[in-house]
């Protein structure tokens, strides 16, 4: 079944087509979201939300872009929404702590994130990289995640982010520079301990 056929069937509410879509794209969506939110439980929740959103809004999909591009866009946008919610939650965390509660998010994210696809001997260094990734601006993080974790070309990243090839090259350059700076701070702090 080619993509236009799959989209047409999805628009008719065909459950088999939806199953095929989920089977085919679930790892791609999960991996993208996991790279951004850096938490397996949250990534699982957001992956579900992405496919629910696809199911509900596929009727408005006009086929201007590739299905994968559309899925990436939804996944990235949902992951960023989740990050914003988490930041808002942290801001109000002090109210919760006034009543004797503990901030669950802080407990979860104090642990370093380990991506399951990283080779064993590189786990430690990758954990430092993921920690640095959290410190750089969202658009640089998205470009880096899509290119490095999902293996998308700069042109594909540009399509997903709805921007130009030149802008993606610039984003990647700045992302690498910022990551080097953050990693430098990370390793210097490690030495001082």
């Amino acid at each position: 079944m080619n993509q236009p056929e799959l989209i047409a069937q999805l628009q008719q509410g065909d459950e088999q087509a939806f199953k095929k879509l989920v089977d085919e794209w679930q790892d791609m969506v999960y991996n993208t979201v996991l790279g951004i939110v850096q938490n397996a439980d949250d990534a699982d929740d957001i992956t579900q939300e992405v496919f629910i959103q696809v199911f509900q809004s596929v009727s408005s999909f006009k086929g201007d872009s590739k299905l994968s591009t559309w899925l990436y866009r939804i996944a990235v946008s949902k992951a960023l929404d989740h990050e914003k919610k988490k930041k808002r939650k942290k801001r109000f965390g002090f109210v919760h702590s006034l009543f004797g509660g503990q901030d669950e998010d802080e407990q979860i994210h104090s642990v370093e994130f380990e991506h399951p696809g990283v080779e064993l001997e590189k786990k430690e260094k990758a954990a430092a990289l993921f920690s640095a990734l959290k410190q750089i601006p969202d658009n640089q993080r998205i470009a880096f995640t899509l290119h490095k974790l999902e293996g998308q070309t700069y042109q594909e990243v540009a399509e997903i982010m709805n921007t130009t090839l030149f802008a993606v090259e610039s984003l990647m350059g700045r992302a690498k520079a910022n990551l080097k700076k953050e990693l430098g701070n990370y390793y210097n702090n490690l030495k001082e301990r």
């Binding site: 989920v22 790892d27 996991l34 629910i52 991506h115 990283v118 080097k180 390793y187």
Partner: protein
């Protein structure tokens, strides 16, 4: 210098650590969980309202608003209790311009 070279090497290795990364796999039975979530997602208006009100930000803002309204009411009551003359002077013009003043019709019909 040696330290800087070591640091640069560490940074480069960290940056390249995801070069041969494998795609993480979604947990099994994702489709089943998606359908379960879709079924669960049909909440009533009251459930949605309850969820919205119980959010810490909304609850805190609501509490602040109630406290603010109380404070304003108390301040206004105190100031009106301290200045009873204001009320009296406000009454005076209505006495002066009373409706019982004779009209032109009354003046014109003084004689039978």
């Amino acid at each position: 210098m040696n330290n800087k070279e070591n640091l640069d090497k560490l940074i480069d290795e960290a940056l390249n650590s995801v070069d041969s990364i494998k795609r993480a796999e979604a947990r099994p039975y994702l489709l089943t969980r998606i359908y379960a979530r879709m079924d669960k997602g049909t909440e009533s208006v009251w459930e949605k309202a309850g969820w919205f009100i119980s959010r810490p930000a909304v609850a805190f803002a609501g509490l602040c608003l109630i406290l603010l309204i109380n404070a304003v009411v108390i301040v206004l009551n105190n100031s009106s209790a301290q200045n009873p003359i204001v009320e009296q002077t406000a009454q005076t013009p209505t006495d002066e311009f009373s409706y019982t003043v004779a009209t032109i019709y009354d003046f014109e019909n003084t004689q039978p």
